[in-house]
């Protein structure tokens, strides 16, 4: 069972157009034995995105018991001549990755009430990766409100909560980062339209402005993602990604 002691590493690659298939091959298959060899954890999910602040995007998520372990594993991996040879060969004269956003995350208390029960199962459909900067005046209250008011609203309209995190290193803090899954784009669209016009949500935001002079969270980036067939996350991100296709 996951808890606050876990560390997560979110890696978002801005892919070179035309190289997405090569990225899937590299991280889903070719480089895996080298990651395993050097003690890296198996990622909890792999995604491809064509709807977000930049496109195309390739995303994966690790869980680590310790960040020291993480740096040791990645250090050995990067220093491995086999990786360098593999990288140069598969790049084939062109970088596959333009830029990368990499951040360490830890579970948010807002996740607690939304952990799934029962055996983990692969979660398909439309996935959504959202960033939600928090008001520094009371970031803890911002997380509580998101977990107790906003998330239940979305969950009751079809969102499956995959994970809710707070930024630990590498990105603006305080900030929530969360993954949701939806049956379809239309299901999400209907839920978001209802969310934007819900009077109770509106009252909560008004209460925040009256209390703090502004809302408890601010506008953030949203990416729509599709899980890779070789790396579909399981419910609650409770274990390594699974093959579904």
């Amino acid at each position: 069972m996951s808890g606050f002691d876990d560390y997560y590493e979110l890696r978002i690659y801005r892919g070179t157009p035309g190289r997405m298939a090569d990225l899937h091959h590299r991280f889903g298959f070719e480089a895996r034995p080298l990651f395993d060899k050097h003690g890296a954890t198996r990622p909890l999910g792999y995604w491809e995105g064509h709807a977000g602040p930049f496109a195309p995007a390739y995303v994966y998520l690790h869980r680590w018991d310790s960040l020291d372990q993480r740096f040791e594993a990645f250090g050995k991996f990067y220093a491995d001549p086999d990786w360098n040879a593999q990288r140069i060969a598969s790049n084939a004269g062109e970088h596959m990755i333009d830029r990368a956003d990499i951040m360490f995350l830890r579970p948010s208390p807002a996740w607690d009430a939304h952990r799934p029960e029962g055996e983990p199962e692969p979660v398909g459909g439309l996935h959504e990766l959202c960033f939600l900067p928090l008001n520094t005046q009371d970031a803890a209250e911002g997380q509580r409100v998101f977990g107790e008011i906003d998330l239940p609203f979305l969950a009751s309209r079809g969102a499956e909560v995959l994970g809710v995190f707070q930024v630990w290193f590498g990105w603006t803090t305080p900030q929530l980062v969360y993954f949701l899954a939806w049956d379809s784009f239309d299901a999400r669209d209907a839920a978001m339209s209802a969310y934007q016009r819900d009077p109770d949500i509106g009252h909560q935001r008004l209460h925040e402005r009256q209390t703090y002079g502004g809302p408890l969270h601010f506008a953030g980036d949203t990416m729509l993602l599709e899980p890779a067939h070789y790396g579909t996350p399981v419910s609650g991100l409770a274990g390594p990604a699974v093959k579904t296709g």
Partner: protein
């Protein structure tokens, strides 16, 4: 003639109110009359208005205005801002707190990749819209324009998209940048097209040519936003702009 691109980062929870407020001042007849407040002050109605579904700094509300001249714009807008109607609407709809945290305000103009030979007649375009902003290496914008016209936009049309408009950012941050508005029937078609574009051999071949001729790609990165056209802001084909209506 120029286009004004206005992009509003709304206060969380208040996107719907911002959308409604825009309709009240720009579209709806003022106090039951025929003309809107925008009409009264000589501000053109938006040629397109959207809310964002995915992308940067959601929730976003945006619209585009087409002006004859800067003199027209800088007479009409200040008169509107200082007029009694806007003061009343703003006070009432803000209800104590602003609806908008920030907004961006760019000057944009037609890009050479915008082929309007198909005309501008027809029904307003609904569905799901995709705004793609190609940020270019300085001095290399024309290479990206050629790529969009010859490969990317053609491929999107084959996959069910409609090019609604293509603009250069004339005055704005992080330029040179080219904005393409693509209309899709739905999300699934947009996604299938994006995946197909990834596999398009002409994209790979063009990138190889760029490396040979330029040493690098003229595209620095592509920013993407999915938009829902608002009921009152669905653009006409080619944003209603006739092919011959634009001076070079």
């Amino acid at each position: 003639m120029f286009f004004e691109y206005r992009w509003y980062e709304c206060a969380p929870g208040r996107l719907a109110e911002e959308i409604d407020r825009m309709e009240e001042v720009a579209i709806a007849g003022w106090k039951g009359g025929e003309e809107s407040v925008f009409d009264r002050y000589g501000i053109p109605r938006p040629i397109g208005a959207w809310s964002s579904v995915a992308g940067r700094r959601k929730p976003v509300f945006g619209y585009i205005l087409q002006w004859d001249s800067f003199a027209q714009r800088d007479t009409a807008f200040p008169a509107f801002w200082t007029g009694p109607e806007w003061a009343e609407v703003r006070e009432r709809t803000n209800a104590g707190f602003t609806l908008v945290d920030h907004f961006d305000n760019w000057v944009i103009g037609p890009n050479a990749a915008w082929d309007r030979s198909g005309g501008c007649e027809g029904e307003p375009i609904g569905g799901l819209h995709e705004m793609r902003i190609h940020h270019c290496m300085a001095g290399d914008g024309h290479h990206v324009t050629a790529y969009l016209a010859e490969i990317e936009h053609r491929q999107m049309e084959v996959m069910g998209g409609r090019v609604i408009g293509v603009f250069d950012v004339k005055i704005g941050p992080d330029i040179p940048a080219i904005i393409s508005f693509i209309g899709w029937p739905d999300y699934e078609t947009q996604q299938a097209a994006a995946r197909r574009l990834e596999l398009e051999p002409r994209v790979r071949e063009r990138r190889r040519q760029w490396r040979e001729e330029l040493g690098d790609s003229p595209i620095r990165h592509v920013e993407q936003t999915l938009l829902k056209p608002l009921d009152y802001g669905k653009p006409l084909p080619n944003f209603g702009l006739a092919a011959e209506g634009v001076a070079a």
